[in-house]
């Protein structure tokens, strides 16, 4: 029997720092809600808007798979692994923090905001060597199609890879388009996040920035309710264990 957990956009945490507005689906920093501690291996889903020229100064991470997906604008990344990169709408960035990494993220432009999703997953292996990667997605392939953007294995049909048995897909759909998502691994659940527009998912209506977690199912039915409706589908393990 499938169980559904709906997180309406306006029930998320909201951290307003002037230069940063962060809407947090799950407990993060000073936002603490014991009912919102993640969805399986998915621990953080932050919907961040950073003012022009501002950003996150150098700070550490460890033992976390961190995925950044720009929605508008350009984000400049620098880390102590020697990477200095700019990620743009249509890119996805992954960082396996492992034994520890320091990085900064700044809005590349002084005159406009950058909006991006910051997603953290617990890794399936502790203390891996830190690793950075970014890929440019095939946006045309996402039209009326769920395109894979994250997977557990290098070279697995496109996108980037992480240290977790997780698969992410994104797609942009015309009104009335229907698609099914088939889960790839038994024991996984799926968290669906509406980037734009609106959808009906397993009979549940979702609006912009709503999230829906589904456990105990092998397939999810998705219908777009308006043109240019964009969806992020995150399949993750529901039981979190780590090898050393």
């Amino acid at each position: 029997m499938a169980t559904h957990t709906l997180h309406k956009a306006d029930t998320r945490g909201n951290a307003e720092h002037g230069w940063l507005n962060s809407r947090q689906t799950f407990s993060f920093a000073s936002y603490y809600n014991p009912e919102r501690m993640g969805f399986g291996a998915l621990r953080v889903l932050n919907d961040d808007t950073v003012a022009g020229g501002r950003g996150f100064g150098t700070h550490p991470h460890d033992n976390m798979e961190i995925i950044s997906i720009p929605l508008e604008g350009d984000l400049e990344h620098k880390d102590n692994l020697g990477n200095t990169e700019v990620i743009r709408q249509g890119d996805v960035q992954v960082m396996s923090a492992g034994t520890g990494v320091f990085h900064s993220e700044y809005n590349k432009h002084a005159d406009r905001e950058v909006k991006f999703l910051q997603i953290w997953l617990f890794p399936n292996r502790l203390n891996v060597s830190p690793r950075y990667d970014q890929v440019t997605l095939d946006m045309a392939a996402m039209q009326n199609n769920l395109q894979q953007i994250i997977s557990p294995a290098p070279g697995s049909h496109g996108g980037a890879w992480i240290h977790q048995d997780a698969w992410f897909h994104m797609g942009a759909f015309e009104k009335g388009r229907q698609v099914a998502y088939d889960l790839k691994k038994e024991g996984n659940g799926v968290y669906l996040f509406v980037i734009n527009g609106s959808f009906t998912i397993d009979g549940q209506s979702l609006e912009k920035r709503d999230g829906l977690g589904i456990e105990g199912t092998a397939q999810v039915s998705i219908t777009a309710n308006e043109d240019n409706s964009q969806l992020l589908v995150m399949e993750v393990p529901m039981q979190v264990t780590q090898k050393s």
Partner: protein, 108 residues
């Protein structure tokens, strides 16, 4: 149980990250803490002072986590041992608060 002050010990191998955690932990009004670089140092610290929570941070393998739990069972049986993920401020507060909730401990 209601505490005036929460004493946290954090063990991890990455010196710079542990310095950040030290600053974050001691930056809270009713948290105090110490950081150490290994499980052996954590056991020594627990023999010298009481702690409410032990955070196991980056570099500490699960095998060492099992050893430290066994050794602290006699030394500090009430210490709460949790793994810290993320290496900074993102998850620290919710990890601590969730651990306190699970053990029905409140901070004034």
């Amino acid at each position: 149980m209601v505490l005036d002050q929460l004493h946290i010990l954090a063990a991890g191998h990455h010196q710079e990250i542990m310095q950040v955690l030290h600053r974050l932990i001691n930056g809270r009004e009713n948290w105090t803490g110490k950081v150490v670089a290994s499980t052996e140092e954590a056991i020594t610290a627990c023999s010298e002072a009481p702690y409410h929570i032990l955070l196991l941070c980056a570099g500490i393998p699960e095998a060492d986590a099992a050893v430290i739990k066994e050794r602290l069972a006699a030394l500090q049986p009430h210490i709460i041992i949790i793994r810290h993920f993320g290496g900074g401020s993102g998850l620290l507060e919710s990890e601590i608060r969730a651990a306190l909730d699970a053990h029905q401990i409140q901070l004034r």
